[in-house]
Symmetry: C3
Subunit: 133 residues, 3 copies
């Protein structure tokens, strides 16, 4: 099953997309009755990424964004004319997708885990793809 | 097939979990006879991760842990009250899972590759999930 | 379906392997007629990795390589006798594989996305594995 949805992002930030993945897992199970499956959440952009991290204290996301800026700064030596090479770098270091095992209708996320779309070069209209099989 | 197991971790460190994944791949093949499959090793925690790296010289793991501490240090600006934001950052940069293709009963790991549970905020009792399909 | 191919790499660099993945997706669909699938591109080495990033301006790859060297430098404290711990670190931070959803015969890559084999410790003869299911 493939589901695609759009989202509006801020300049930089983590958008919680866990609910969309949970809903897709439920629908997949209702359609197939399959005992286990693998859910992939995929980002088809090169200056954004997908990660799994804490869903409770929003300060964690603030700290992650802050530390990513410090770890992967804009550098005067960058040549790419669009000026967003740091965002491309963050995208490759965080990664273009996550995979979560599915048992019956349930994503096997840990109790503190949420799935986040990571915008490093917004604000923009973005697309996200959920694949379950 | 989904298998879950527990492990005790040190304060920080890489724990070799390759044998558990190899055993799961063998059992999956014995049960299904499937010619090829995908093995996902998943970490349901937000201050730990899964990686694939060298299985021969343990100095590689020492160097990786050292460099991760230098690359993603604790920062005075961090707000998260638990004080483990650096561990959350490492978790997102290393990633919550790895995927390895399976041919018959064999994980297609390279000759020098092992699968590691990466603890960034222990010691703790942790859980690891293996999914093959 | 599992396909394996070899490639020669430079000392350090990104090699575009998108065409091989697209071809595998096409062949898988011709063989199976399966409506959707998941494509994994896997690196069986510990000083190389796979990433997805911009396929248009080659300056992006130059900037990524430059920034990775700055972010994950060789360190005098490293103990691994082969002297390539920075390459091992980059391999774990970028990751050993990528996953891309496949719809019919088409990889759902974004318009600007390409798949790259990342060499951090060449030049070498390397292997790459494509798995689709």
């Amino acid at each position: 099953m493939i589901q695609t949805f759009s989202l509006n992002t801020p300049a930089e930030g983590f958008i919680d997309i866990t609910a969309a993945a949970r809903k897709a897992a439920l629908e997949f199970y209702e359609q197939t009755g399959q005992e286990d499956a693998l859910c992939t959440v995929y980002c088809p952009h090169t200056t954004a990424a997908i990660t799994i991290n804490e869903n409770a204290d929003p300060d964690v996301q603030t700290d992650l964004l802050y530390a990513l800026k410090k770890t992967y700064p804009d550098r005067p030596e960058f040549r790419h004319c669009e000026g967003n090479s740091a965002a491309h770098l963050k995208a490759s270091c965080i990664g273009s997708s996550v995979q979560v095992p599915v048992q019956r209708d349930t994503l096997l996320l840990g109790i503190w885990q949420g799935i986040y779309f990571c915008e490093f070069d917004g604000p923009r209209r973005r697309t996200c793809i959920i694949h379950i099989r």
